[in-house]
Subunit: 349 residues, 2 copies
DNA sequence: CTGAAAGCGCTTACAG
DNA sequence: CTGAAAGCGCTTACAG
């Protein structure tokens, strides 16, 4: 019931062989076809609304035109959506189809292997293995039967190219933005989870302070759980310091949510009394808070797109440097309304 | 490089014809094979790790084992993720693969048609057309070339089965929960967007009040924009009423976020001074707010799963009642900490 | 410049 | 109970 017209129909209608039709429609290189024939075939194909059967082509060429996306926890992370979107749009541009499989975050090695095999059974031309919050990962060996690419983690074996967010640069820039607004006492509401984001953002905070010529006061670093409650706790500690901060850079937007609440509880206004910057650009927090939260965005869309582009390049035969080091994509600062110049002079009533 | 062993290899190794191998592996009905042969074939297939080439099979049987999921705005809605997850897990159970295409929310008819065609080119066995916030939708006619199903909207032509959340029941139950806690002055922080959720939740509020034997005070309904700022505004108006509410049911969690802020600004405690219920169970708001927000969850996972199950049933030949009326899936109340028994006696200091 | 033919890996009447 | 053979719709040497 779908596309009932095949190569044969086009060939008959155009009065040529299916070989010729195939050549002109595929623009086979090094094959000369007379302009008249070419034109006629194209016209007929268009008129008949010919659409190639990709399964037949795939069977012949051993390529399905499909990219498999294996993602950890599609639903529970707020980010997977944008990775999928970036990958999907890039796939469309390359006339590739995205097949998705969800792998449980805590799946064991065998389960992951099965997921990869399910994709391989589909004869996907390439696989994107997307993880969240990992330093290093050991994907099943089967992954390498086709071109593959890693999102959000580095391949332990250093064989699979990978892309990750540049957490450090994002944090660095956030601190610099605060410094540019005149802040000198910039606090870090951090956390100590065992994830790369923690380390990257902490280092970025430190290098940002250094780059701005500011000294880091240990009293201005308060680690807590990376949730709203943790942010509330961090802010409370920070505000109790002998010399409190004029700005707080938060490990993430969820902590910033708690920081807002803590300041609100104390009658402190953002950004008049204190500036705040978050990380993640997580909606609906970031734009739902009052005032809108200035924060650092993660390049999820871009990572998804890069993954497909990289795969497409590999498929086209472009050699890719085996991911000795992951590509780091920049995390841009998204300016809203939670940062203001540091207040000089006496505190307002 | 993938699965290099084919039917032929299994046949040779087992000393039978490929016909026989195909029959035993597919358990073709009405075909008798001697137990010994059957066993031998199965053993050999397992030993060789035979995996059928699905493109070859698809070419022959004209079925790809793929379900196409066309979704509006994968990334911008917080919900798409759970729809995808539900659909993906159901697909895995049926040994189907999910191919995803994103359609821009504002795409015109031609663009949508192309998206459907892209899926059809892939010879998907069925299509899930997932929309957000629509009453009625007119999918491209091509959709019906294969079994199809609609999520989140009703088909204008009444041909495509569909599934939607039971907004009304969700709101109804929320109000009843408040009434069960003794509240009689239950306000509705609503909105007037032109989406089905608005109407359903409003009606549910009304029927819930009626079912609880409560009269609706027009002063206790305050419409505003369905964002945090709108919630703040609604709450402010509600609290200024001659006889303020003891509980607020919010159109959605984002409005509840603003309601929290408004109460916090006035030194009112949740739930001691006022109970609040939201709608959507949107993270990270719902569990990130203090106290955790009691809210109504949308059955996104269930709708995704239902869509695939329904398609699988159609593919298996089970007749499905053409969606004259959409199936309404229940919206369960998620209890957290924002509801308390109404305070009797004089207000606390 | 054009076409006849083989073959990708399966399924499925059909025959024995 | 088992197998030879056709054919799904393409691509691609190969020949002319």
């Amino acid at each position: 019931m779908v596309s009932r017209v095949g190569l044969k129909d086009v060939a008959e209608a155009a009065g040529v062989s299916i070989t010729t039709v195939s050549h002109v429609l595929n623009e086979t290189p090094h094959v000369r076809v007379s302009p008249q024939t070419r034109q006629r075939v194209q016209d007929v194909a268009a008129r008949l609304n010919y659409r190639p059967n990709r399964m037949a082509r795939g069977l012949r060429t051993r390529s399905s035109g499909m990219i498999g996306l294996l993602t950890e926890e599609i639903a529970t992370t707020p980010h997977a959506g944008r990775i999928i979107l970036g990958a999907q749009e890039a796939a469309s541009r390359h006339n590739l189809t995205l097949a998705i499989i969800n792998s449980a975050l805590m799946a064991d090695a065998d389960e992951r292997r099965e997921d990869v095999n399910a994709l391989l059974d589909r004869h996907v031309d390439g696989i994107i293995y997307a993880t969240v919050y990992h330093d290093v990962v050991s994907p099943p060996a089967e992954l390498r039967s086709v071109p593959a690419v890693l999102i959000g983690a580095r391949d332990r074996a250093g064989q699979v190219p990978s892309v990750v967010p540049d957490e450090q640069q994002g944090a660095h820039d956030a601190v610099l933005a605060l410094a540019a607004a005149g802040h000198r006492r910039i606090a870090f509401a951090g956390n100590s989870d065992d994830v790369p984001a923690t380390r990257g953002r902490r280092v970025g905070y430190l290098t940002g302070m250094a780059a701005a010529g500011l000294t880091v006061d240990p009293d201005l670093i308060a680690d807590a759980e990376s949730e709203p409650l943790g942010g509330h706790e961090s802010a409370s500690r920070l505000l109790a310091a002998a010399e409190p901060p004029t700005a707080i850079f938060c490990y993430n937007d969820r902590m910033a949510m708690g920081v807002y609440r803590a300041l609100n509880d104390r009658g402190l206004r953002i950004p008049e009394d204190l500036s705040v910057i978050g990380f993640d650009d997580q909606q609906p927090i970031a734009s739902g808070l009052f005032p809108g939260l200035t924060t650092v965005a993660l390049p999820h869309y871009e990572m998804g797109a890069w993954a497909v582009e990289s795969l497409a390049a590999q498929l086209a035969g472009t050699p890719t440097d085996g991911g000795s080091q992951p590509l780091r994509l920049p995390c841009p600062l998204v300016t809203r309304s939670s940062v203001a110049p540091v207040r000089t002079g006496p505190p307002s009533p």
